[in-house]
């Protein structure tokens, strides 16, 4: 009886531990780490900084977990695309600002995702650090990105089957960074053909290798619906904000890259 209880407890602890791990971008109901004024002030700072640089489109990343919990090579936990927009307010006015195009895990079904447009203050609510990664692509890339985002291709590139460690070299699963990368490559190659996008990703993009013990991975794939390994071939490889920035830099497609802090 005692053993059964201990075993049951440890399995529960394992699930809880992995849940905390996998919800690294922070859960929807996470306790805010900063007060509302700090979040508002920081998100407006990010918005005004990119506006001062004339960015129509930029890649944006946030830190959704404590820095000491992030694996080697991963500095940000969620990546999205910021787009200079005409925003219609609920009271009918048009105001200029940035909308953020995200792929988010569903709250109640973490192995599935939705495309969600929100705003900087929503994006940064609940972060663990007031720190933003920003890549402003060169104007020609921005222009092509705008065309993709304004077209059906942006939605067509979404694969709702979510894995937190999705392999960017195939289309079996997708996470926020992989969708961002797919949109970037759709823009660069001016195509909506996923086969062309993935072929070029395999040829030119260097994914992040994630070092996770096989035991942990096995348990993760058993207990966590959003941890999937069936799309992986050579260890665990996934896309990150840092590898996307590295990819754009490698091919001279970056106008400016910056880290904005409080």
């Amino acid at each position: 009886m005692k053993l059964k209880f201990i075993h049951g407890m440890t399995v529960t602890m394992m699930i809880l531990g992995l849940a905390a791990t996998a919800e690294a971008g922070s859960a929807a109901n996470a306790e805010p780490q900063f007060n509302a004024e700090e979040i508002v002030s920081f998100s407006k700072k990010v918005e005004k900084t990119v506006a001062s640089k004339g960015a129509r489109v930029f890649i944006l990343a946030r830190v959704g977990r404590p820095a000491n919990e992030l694996p080697e090579g991963i500095h940000f936990t969620h990546t999205a695309i910021g787009v200079y927009s005409m925003i219609k307010t609920a009271d009918g006015r048009d105001v200029p600002g940035y909308a953020i195009y995200n792929l988010y895990q569903r709250d109640n079904k973490p192995d599935m995702s939705d495309l969600v447009v929100d705003y900087p203050v929503d994006f940064f609510a609940g972060v663990f650090q007031l720190k933003a990664g920003v890549v402003i692509p060169k104007p020609e890339v921005q222009q092509r990105l705008l065309q993709v985002i304004a077209s059906n291709t942006y939605k067509e590139l979404h694969n709702p089957s979510y894995s937190v460690i999705a392999n960017p070299y195939n289309s079996k699963f997708q996470n926020c960074t992989e969708h961002t990368l797919d949109v970037i490559n759709a823009a660069i190659y001016q195509t909506n053909d996923v086969k062309v996008i993935k072929s070029n990703t395999r040829a030119y993009f260097d994914a992040q290798k994630v070092h996770v013990s096989p035991l942990k991975l096995l348990a993760g794939s058993i207990f966590m619906p959003d941890v999937k390994t069936s799309d992986q071939k050579r260890g665990i490889e996934t896309s990150t904000y840092t590898t996307i920035a590295g990819y754009l830099n490698k091919y001279d497609l970056v106008q400016e890259q910056l880290v904005i802090t409080q």
């Binding site: 053993l3 791990t21 805010p32 977990r65 936990t77 969620h78 929503d122 996770v212 942990k216």
Partner: protein, 107 residues
């Protein structure tokens, strides 16, 4: 046998809890937490900034690309659409936020 299972699972549990390795998730941060605290703190205002609900955002395309900003967008926005990429852009001082998700709206 049961003892072995318990020991192995205890070891695994401690590994999982001590290491947070798969840190790539993108669960949604709700804007509601900020919205609620802002409302509680200052009746729709945070400091001097106004919290505004956004209904819809339309990418402001650059002249020469498809679907350029329409005349309805207003003069300042049309002016922005005509600016070459890289020139400083105007952004509103209003703090725009999305509404709650449908399930939260019903709570």
């Amino acid at each position: 046998m049961k003892m072995k299972i318990a020991i192995v699972s205890t070891m695994l549990a401690s590994m999982f809890i001590s290491q947070q390795a798969m840190a790539q998730g993108s669960a949604q941060h709700s804007g509601q937490a900020v919205g609620h605290s802002a409302l509680a703190a200052g009746h729709s205002a945070v400091g001097s900034a106004k919290l505004t609900s956004a209904a819809v955002a339309v990418p402001l395309l650059v002249v020469g690309t498809v679907g350029v900003a329409s005349a309805e967008a207003g003069k300042s926005l049309l002016k922005a659409a005509n600016r070459p990429i890289g020139e400083p852009l105007e952004v509103s001082d209003e703090i725009l936020t999305v509404g709650p998700s449908p399930d939260r709206a019903l709570r």
